[in-house]
Symmetry: C2
Subunit: 455 residues, 2 copies
């Protein structure tokens, strides 16, 4: 029996194992689930031990990490897998059609909290290894699994863990299955994420709220001034006007343009999903280019003056806003924050006081499109799904991917088996059994593909 | 004994009467003081009855009006006096050096809640009448006193009262002493007030907060758009850009420029009072012109997106702001609101939804500077204070003055005897006994001056 045949023969057992994994209410955000979290970590470690890994449960400042490795001399490639065994809270319970921690199968889906995010997707890689080892095959790569228990509550201890264990985690590439396919029957390799930079700006006019009759028209109104500052951060084409903002932005490559052109994308459908009346992106770029390959600046919150019902005739003392910029690879968050601060201070008239807090950020990441990893991942998906994969990026940030790059120098392959409508973080979370299976086949093929690459 | 001599002879009695008036904790905003309000109204009505008025306590939807009149055939001018017998709450009590409703005299001041606002100032006019009648003189004018009990809680029933009693209140001019002198030993006639127009603008982008990674850069951000709209409401000279905004604004008259030029005004001191770092008014006008004679537009409050600590990476669904415009006489609040709405809707891109609520407003008022009233008031003050009065305006609105103009067709003379640092609305409210006395003399002279004017 070869590993693929082993996978074929174990469908039912595998589904039962997934159910066992899903029965732990390993909700990391709630302290009353601390015991469940630990029980889940122990189950996982034991399960992997049985398969043939060396495992240990490693403490952190919060919930522990399950670490497992399989290392043999002579194996060329070392893969670091990252996943998480904790889950989002299940609330609101009343919106669940079934009990969130009693997994059931219905219409080809397994329904439970954590089914797609991330227990189901994570398990595919473990089951691929089992398929090798249970059939007496030599695993052709070295493997390390870093499985955390705090992803859904902010991964507060993860960066320190990776820093403290950088030697242990040494590898050639990272594999994560915690994203989604591009669409139904459209498995995807996510090869880039935007970074982020966050700052707050507070403008202060008078030292207290003033009567707008007695002072209005002579004394600076910090809301009016802040509006002017914010308005000056974009030009009419909706380019960001901060001096030097685009200095390090790379042009969109021909390869990337080709990938985007291949993708079905319905602007009308995208717009309808948001409820907005129209699009309003940077001129000269398609929506996917705007979301994936162009940096942006958005005000996430603004506040100043009277907030209650009706009116209050004041010149407010201050106004404040929260600004995040989504960055693309090659932009440096610190550099961008410095440029933004300089520019905003220049925009501020001397009659208002300007306080700026730069909260830092994370750079964007991209897997080199001319390296070996992307193609190997694409071939594995093609084998596992029997479908041509698409290569996509994502507009958001996954901080751990930046950390792997920064601390370990590693690129990360984001291979999502789920769907964006699998209700991750929502009631009735689900995972198609067909996607679970195709994920296992792809995970198996990935081992094979990566083993053939020279380091 | 003539009326002036009578005033001279009654200083101590008059001060005791003021104290008696001040002992009523007639706090209109607090229901537990309803009895005190009524007792105060009854004391006032009885006091005026004794002097020689016909008085009645007239019910309203809230606290009653004390109405008093003195009418004789043959008297030419009818003066309508307006004042209020209610007071602000005294809280915070711990900041008072004395008990707010146990008036005491210290360093030439009488200290108590209501001493300057408005019991002390109101009483000067009543005492002037007494001086006439007690000395057997014929009062040379007809008089009506409208003394309300809800000024400090919003005058909610006043407009209806004036409307319902417009025949009763028929007069030639209104006199109000509820403002302040321009400065120490600088008694003033306030001859103009700005009006106001109030609106709220809400811009809506997506139908819920969206992830700024997945949508930022393509979907309209209503905060960014609102900032652009607000920024577009002023040009670089800080003129308001709303089309037609200045159409009905009259140029500042030579007479007014002369009055302003006569006034001591220290911009540095004015600025220091506000704590702001610099002035920021409409270019081409002095500060007093900006405050008194030019319309303005201020954002009184703004809100949108995430308001808590730290960051939240969203494209907010909506952003809203409160806008008031201070208007000058001859501008129509409804017209200005319509113009503002048209302009703002034109500024809004089609990709956001724009909701506007026009709350209405009140026009500015001005006493004609070429009519008889101002000069007569000035002469009375000169007689009473022995000082040359100044003619000033005020940047805020006093709604009842608009109501007198609109409903009764009457101009209002605002003659303030107090000082801006008399702590009206604050702990340790006070009124200089010298100002009280000079107010009485001025009130007496005013009767004389107004009686000589033809109707």
């Amino acid at each position: 029996m070869n590993p693929r045949e082993f996978l074929d023969s174990k469908k039912e057992v595998r589904l039962e194992e997934l159910k066992a994994f899903l029965r732990f209410p390993s909700v990391s955000a709630k302290s009353e689930h601390a015991k469940d979290i630990l029980a889940c970590a122990e189950w996982l470690a034991k399960h992997m031990e049985k398969i043939g890994f060396n495992t240990k449960i490693m403490p952190t400042g919060g919930h522990p990490v399950v670490y497992a490795e399989y290392i043999k001399p002579g194996n060329r490639t070392t893969i670091l897998y990252y996943g998480h065994y904790d889950v989002q809270p299940a609330e609101p319970f009343e919106l669940w059609k079934t009990s969130p921690f009693e997994p059931i199968v219905e219409n080809g889906y397994i329904i439970a909290r954590g089914s797609t995010d991330d227990k189901g997707q994570l398990l595919t890689h473990i089951k691929a290894v089992e398929a090798y080892l249970a059939t007496g095959q030599q695993l052709p790569v070295n493997m390390k699994f870093l499985i955390e228990g705090e992803e859904e509550s902010g991964s507060e201890n993860l960066e320190k863990f990776i820093n403290d264990n950088s030697a242990l985690l040494k590898a050639d590439v990272v594999v994560v299955s915690d994203t989604a396919q591009y669409g139904r029957n459209s498995p995807a390799v996510t090869y880039g994420l935007r970074g982020i930079a966050f700052m707050e700006v507070k403008l202060i006019g008078p030292d207290r709220d003033l009567h707008s009759g007695s002072f209005g028209g002579a004394i600076p109104n910090p809301i009016n001034v802040l509006a002017k500052v914010i308005a000056s951060l974009h030009d009419e084409s909706r380019h960001v006007t901060i001096e030097g903002f685009y200095d390090d932005v790379l042009p969109i490559s021909e390869w990337e343009k080709k990938q985007i052109a291949r993708l079905p994308f319905d602007e009308k459908e995208f717009l309808e999903k948001t409820g907005a009346k129209g699009l309003m992106g940077e001129r000269g770029f398609s929506v996917l280019e705007q979301l994936w390959s162009r940096p942006t600046l958005d005000i996430n919150g603004i506040r100043g003056g009277y907030q209650g019902e009706g009116g209050k005739t004041i010149i407010p003392s201050w106004a404040t806003c929260k600004i995040t910029m989504r960055l693309v690879p090659n932009q440096n968050p610190k550099d961008i924050l410095d440029k933004a601060e300089r520019y905003i201070r220049k925009l501020c008239p001397p009659s208002v006081k300007c306080e700026i807090i730069k909260h830092g950020g994370a750079p964007g990441v991209v897997v080199p499109t001319d390296g070996p990893w992307l193609e190997a991942a694409g071939r594995a998906i093609k084998t596992g799904f029997g479908l041509e994969p698409v290569f996509i990026k994502e507009g958001g940030s996954i901080p751990v991917v930046s950390t792997f790059k920064r601390v370990l120098g590693l690129d990360t392959l984001l291979l999502g088996w789920g769907q964006s409508d699998d209700n991750a973080h929502s009631p009735n979370e689900r995972f198609a059994i067909a996607d679970f299976e195709r994920g296992c086949y792809s995970a198996l093929a990935l081992i094979d593909e990566l083993s053939r690459l020279s380091r």
